[in-house]
């Protein structure tokens, strides 16, 4: 992708009405950009830094999955691993054709209005042409200036000529010409492709776009503000992001955590929570620190045997899917110690560099303790650019400096046409950032519905393309194999070590090779032309490029191969740069020999290669949505407004779900108005068909072409409706658990918070009579796994405040385990305490007991942790916060859809962090409480995200699937079920309509739309009945793999 040259207007006048600007190239911006691009809209992705990646690029691992973020979401190699969600849309030579990437760019002015913005951009010079940079590192080697690396958070150094990380998007170096650069010009002199231009000037450009999405992220709170904690004064006090780099496999120590003062392995590490959160200056919760500290402590425990890891915290806010189990594992399995204390100061022992903390022990006595390393769990602050952006775009910020939106339009800023997502909206973790981003993209798709699919991109090939840009494919099946080998000299990167002439000569002697030549720089235009010409001139039908890494360049050469009329799978690469020349610099003879072997192997492999074609389907214009609550209605409206048809199925007689019973919210808006508005719009929409009293009976087919039968219970009669649809969305919700606990259902004075809300709204006079109300949090089915239901604490605050408002003299007690008022909801906790509500923490060992005295008076016995004694309360009403559980029928529905459930019983997403709205089975999505308990605004975001994701499929004409997948030869299949058992994704099935070996009934079938192409089944199939296309057994065996002949 070329960076813009100096021009006034870089928009394409034919397409600019269908363009969107995404500001910020972190995970949120990338996600939003890809979804928009996939829906056929043009995207300008603007990033101030030299490379994509944002904060997530600096993380080593994600909680609670402990996925290494290297391949799941960093600029290190541009999302190679989250397919099909984000990869390969962000690989340097395979950037999505609808995305124009503008790095080192800032917005300086915005005019116009929704649908027609004119944005003025300023581009800072990179001094390096990314299209010609070959990442040879020579500029950096000769650069005399050494600086602290901001990517490694000052824990390592870099040169002024540098690359942010080893792999970046764009995959190019940048010259940092700060005051330290003495303009020696050596970098430009040494560059072998002359891609450095030190005279490059900053320039401005103007772009026309229809909508803007702000994904500018957050800043870390300033650790220096907390002088008493010693950051910047004591070497062994570091902040949490620095710890992330130390623990990251791509960090300065490849994951070794060492003390900054003496490089020793720490034996005792302390994490101090809420630094820059939940205090006077930052009166909100940063939402992520509890979990990342737990992650960091757990990784410390795994990496440093015998280490003592202690977390000092106020509450443990583990409030999302699987978080509670994760926290429990940290405590019980890994032995991470949690201490409820807020550390007010840190002292250093100057002799040892150890740090001394004071805190109360469980008995309340102040003790002193030594640690070798203290990690400050820094909170999130609004991004530095927030104020200028707000002024330029005319958007409002909230009292904390984050972007202001309305609860019921949670991704719309106060400026129409400008949307927001990710941590600029509020502090949040990666999964929610992705939901926001996909949701904002969904919002834009709705706004720009007339433009959808206008620039439809295609996944027909292994690289991304805009359809029809290639000549017809040549049928090579009858031709003898004619392979061409192109050896890149990449001087001096490859040529400096390997005798490329020798390699090319050797290649020309190999079987099937009819042409071999050396290229100067295969990746640059003149040599790309040469390859195309050689394919034609020599009638080549197999191509080998020996050069740099296929990770960065394979898609480029696949494209060239296809441009020359060959199937892209008739190309193979041999990596003789990163995996040969650069790692054997002192052994040129052996390196040359190895390069020859790698070429020989590639020739053999490509000689055996067969063309691969993906399958395709033209998706219907129809979506099926199961569940008519907020999530279902919101998703239906988003999809219908974008121009597609929706069948909305609801089991109840009325639409609305849980929203029908919610009368007010902590933030003050009226949810009943939202309910009426949603129902009226859904009922009145020409593209939405509503089936109430209806349920899904069967569901078959694949993405783009599902067939379902819906049963409607119309009195005595059941009516069946057949629906053909391209996507399926599950929005079946959840509900309060109402089990036999704390006299619930046996005494009318014991109610749930939802019941209390009914009382407050419909019988406020009753509230006036209460003298004492006890609220008990975390009421969950006794024998079952406990998880945090997220919304209860804030709902309890909301009801407690109402009770206090109606009856200020009423005593309100809240018995809780951890107060989960995350994000800006912290204000309701603060307000509730200010109003005199009394909070008492309990734990598993001291569960509150509720009963009835002989006189009928309710009684609650609770352990008071500060005074260390039992308190006996005599409430008039007990309000419980029971767990939110999946709707009845969830398990049955999962069976019909053939999708998995999570440990908590909710639907299981494709990936907990990266794909929270998708099922693993393509074309099926989820939103709302069917995924996990969530607030109304979160449900709306989730629904919009799901709608957006669904539209990316609906807008595809046609939709491609399959390709390099596992294929069963049924006549060899014995039906032994080995593939069924070993597939990590549970894709293979034995189908009775297939005939196996010797005519037996039934053989394995692997659905190409679902197969992930790992080949595990092929390696275990005892009958060798399965082959992985593009990785055939013959290609991975034989003489070239085992023997060395060169």
């Amino acid at each position: 992708m070329l960076e813009p040259r100096i021009t006034d207007v870089i928009s394409d006048p034919d397409n600019d009405a269908g363009s969107v600007m995404v500001v910020g190239g972190g995970v949120a911006g990338m996600r939003a950009a890809v979804d928009l691009a996939e829906a056929g809209l043009k995207v300008y992705l603007v990033e101030a830094a030299p490379a994509l990646g944002g904060r997530v690029a600096q993380l080593g691992y994600m909680f609670p999955t402990h996925d290494c973020v290297l391949c799941r979401g960093t600029s290190d190699h541009g999302y190679g691993c989250t397919r099909p969600a984000i990869s390969p849309a962000f690989q340097d030579k395979n950037l999505h054709p609808n995305i124009r990437l503008l790095t080192l760019t800032n917005i300086i002015a915005v005019d116009g209005q929704a649908g027609d913005f004119r944005v003025t951009l300023r581009h800072e010079p990179r001094y390096v042409d990314p299209a010609r940079c070959i990442s040879c590192d020579l500029c950096s080697i000769v650069c005399p200036v050494e600086l602290p690396s901001s990517f490694q958070l000052e824990l390592a150094t870099r040169k002024a000529a540098y690359k942010v990380a080893v792999r970046t998007i764009p995959d190019a170096y940048v010259i940092d010409r700060g005051p330290y650069c003495d303009d020696c010009g050596r970098c430009a002199e040494v560059c072998p492709t002359q891609c450095i231009d030190l005279d490059e000037q900053p320039h401005e450009s103007r772009v026309r776009v229809g909508a803007i999405i702000l994904a500018v992220g957050y800043d870390l709170s300033d650790a220096g503000e907390y002088e008493e904690l010693g950051f910047g004064r004591y070497a062994n006090v570091i902040h949490s992001m620095q710890y992330e780099r130390l623990a990251s496999r791509s960090g300065p120590t490849e994951g070794l955590v060492l003390r900054p003062s003496d490089g020793k392995k720490p034996r005792r590490i302390a994490w101090l929570q809420c630094v820059g959160s939940r205090d006077q200056k930052h009166p909100y919760c940063s939402s992520i620190c509890c979990m990342y500290a737990t992650k960091e402590a757990m990784i410390a425990k795994e990496r440093l045997p015998g280490v003592h890891a202690q977390v000092f915290m106020m509450d443990e806010r583990a409030f999302n899917k699987e978080f509670n189990a994760y926290y429990e594992a940290a405590r019980k399995k890994h032995g991470v110690e949690y201490t409820r204390a807020r550390i007010s100061y840190v002292k250093e022992d100057p002799a040892t560099g150890d740090l001394i903390l004071h805190y109360p022990d469980p008995a309340g006595k102040l003790i002193q303790d030594r640690f070798d390393l203290v990690v400050l769990s820094l909170g999130t602050a609004p991004p530095r650019s927030a104020k200028t952006l707000a002024e330029e775009l005319g958007i409002e910020l909230n009292e904390y400096g984050f972007c202001q939106t309305d609860k019921f339009t949670p991704l719309e800023t106060s400026a129409p046409g400008v949307y927001v997502c990710g941590t600029f909206l509020s502090p949040k973790e990666i999964a929610e950032t992705f939901l926001d981003a996909a949701g904002a993209a969904g919002d834009v798709m709705r706004l720009m519905s007339s433009q959808l699919g206008r620039n439809a991109s295609s996944r027909e090939y292994p690289f991304l393309s805009i359809g029809d840009e290639f000549p017809p494919e040549r049928d090579v099946s009858a031709e003898p194999i004619r392979a061409g080998v192109f050896v890149c000299r990449c001087e001096p990167s490859i040529d400096g070590v390997i005798d490329t002439q020798n390699v090319a000569e050797f290649a020309s002697t190999l079987p099937n090779v009819v042409h071999a030549e050396r290229l100067a720089f295969g990746c640059l235009d003149p040599d790309l032309d040469r390859i195309r010409q050689a394919i034609e001139a020599h009638g080549l039908n197999r191509v080998v490029v020996a050069g740099c890494s296929p990770r960065t360049h394979e898609s480029l050469f696949q494209r060239v191969t296809r441009q020359a009329g060959l199937n892209s799978y008739l190309l193979a690469m041999a990596n003789i740069r990163e995996q040969c020349a650069w790692v054997h610099e002192s052994q040129p003879v052996l390196a040359t020999r190895k390069a020859k072997e790698l070429v020989r192997m590639a020739v053999n492999r490509v000689s055996l290669a067969q063309p691969v074609h993906k399958l395709h389907v033209k998706p219907t214009d129809q979506a099926l949505i199961i569940g008519g609550g907020v999530a279902g209605m919101q998703a239906a409206l988003s999809i219908a407004d974008a121009g597609y048809n929706v069948t909305l199925v609801e089991r109840q007689a009325q639409l609305g779900g849980n929203l029908r019973h919610i009368y007010y919210v902590a933030e003050g808006q009226n949810p009943q108005r939202l309910l009426r508005d949603l129902i009226n719009r859904v009922r009145g929409h020409e593209r939405i068909e509503v089936l109430t009293r209806s349920e899904l009976k069967t569901h078959t087919g694949r993405t783009g072409d599902f067939r379902s039968v819906i049963v409607t219970h119309a009195g005595e009669l059941d009516v069946e409706t057949a629906v053909r649809h391209a996507v399926t969305i599950v929005t079946t919700g959840g509900e309060e658990w109402r089990g036999d606990i704390y006299l619930l259902g046996r005494d009318a004075r014991v109610v749930t918070q939802l019941d209390l809300e009914e009382i407050i709204v419909h019988r406020p006079e009753k509230v006036a009579e209460f003298k004492q109300v006890v609220m008990i949090q975390c009421v969950h089915p006794p024998a079952e796994m406990e998880y945090c239901s997220r919304i209860c604490c804030t709902n309890t605050m909301k009801n407690a405040l109402r009770v206090k408002m109606l009856n200020p003299n009423c005593q309100v007690y809240v018995l809780y385990k951890n107060m989960i008022t995350y994000g800006f909801r912290e204000q309701y906790y603060t307000e509730t305490r200010r109003r005199g509500v009394i909070f008492m923490r309990y734990d598993e060992e001291h569960m509150p007991q509720a009963g009835r005295r002989p006189d009928g008076q309710l009684e609650v016995r609770a352990w008071e942790q500060v005074f260390r004694r039992e308190m006996i309360l005599s409430p008039d009403l007990i309000a419980l916060s029971p767990a939110i559980v999946p709707s009845p029928g969830t398990a049955e529905l999962a069976k019909i859809l053939d999708v998995p459930l999570s440990v908590e019983g909710f639907f299981q997403e494709a990936h907990l962090k990266m794909r929270p709205m998708d099922f693993m089975a393509e074309g099926i999505f989820m939103a709302g409480m069917a995924h996990y308990p969530k607030f109304i605004e979160e449900t709306i975001i989730n629904a919009q995200a799901t709608a957006g994701r669904a539209i990316t499929l609906l807008a595809k004409k046609p939709l491609y699937y399959g390709g390099p997948v596992a294929v069963v030869d049924p006549v060899k299949c014995v039906g032994c079920l080995t593939c069924v058992r070993t597939c990590p994704f549970e894709i293979p099935q034995i189908q009775a309509d297939l005939t196996g070996v010797g005519g037996i009934i039934g053989a394995a079938y692997i659905e190409p739309a679902l197969c992930q192409g790992c080949g595990t089944c092929t390696a275990e199939c005892p009958a060798k009945a399965i082959q992985l296309v593009a990785y055939l057994d013959a290609q991975l065996m034989g003489e070239t793999v085992g023997a060395w002949v060169a």
Binding site: H77, V166, E254, C580, L590, K594, P984, L1036, G1038, V1041
Partner: protein, 146 residues
């Protein structure tokens, strides 16, 4: 067999996954971390694709050593392809012991994409180990001139 000077230079085949292992190999390259040039890298979509047959076949064709490199356990791109591979490598090692080739000529490594040093170290470790073990006994059986 290559003889550079007087020492035996082992010929080794490494099956690597295109996710973490290939990435780590690239990182080793980008950082110019040096390791012996005795290893041929064979790319696979996942170490779960490592058929025991591939390993045996490589030995049969003359490899002195074979190793497999995949993503760290728990971080496999394909969830648990690397666990399946680990199991197969374990079984194949046993088989190699039984047939007299020696299970120590086969190994599996787990690296994360950023771990260039570790990837290079694996190549070094295997090369040294096989160098010490000497040429594959299969070569002598097949009467290869040395």
């Amino acid at each position: 067999m290559a003889n550079t000077g007087n020492g035996f230079e082992p010929e080794i085949t490494a099956f690597i996954c295109i996710y973490c292992a290939d990435m780590a190999a690239d990182i080793a390259g980008a950082l110019h971390i040096q390791y012996p040039a005795n290893v041929k890298l064979v790319k696979m979509p996942c170490t779960g694709k490592t058929d025991a047959q591939y390993i045996l076949d490589a030995f049969e064709h003359g490899a002195d050593g074979v190793y497999v490199v995949g993503c760290p356990i728990g971080n496999c791109h394909h969830v648990r392809g690397n666990e399946r591979a680990r199991m197969r490598v374990k079984k194949t090692k046993k088989l190699l012991d039984e047939i007299g080739l020696g299970g120590e000529r086969l190994a599996m490594y787990f690296v994360s994409g950023g771990m260039g040093e570790t990837f290079a170290h694996a190549a070094e470790e295997m090369t040294e180990r096989i160098r010490a073990l000497g040429p594959s006994p299969l070569r002598e059986l097949q009467g290869e001139p040395s």
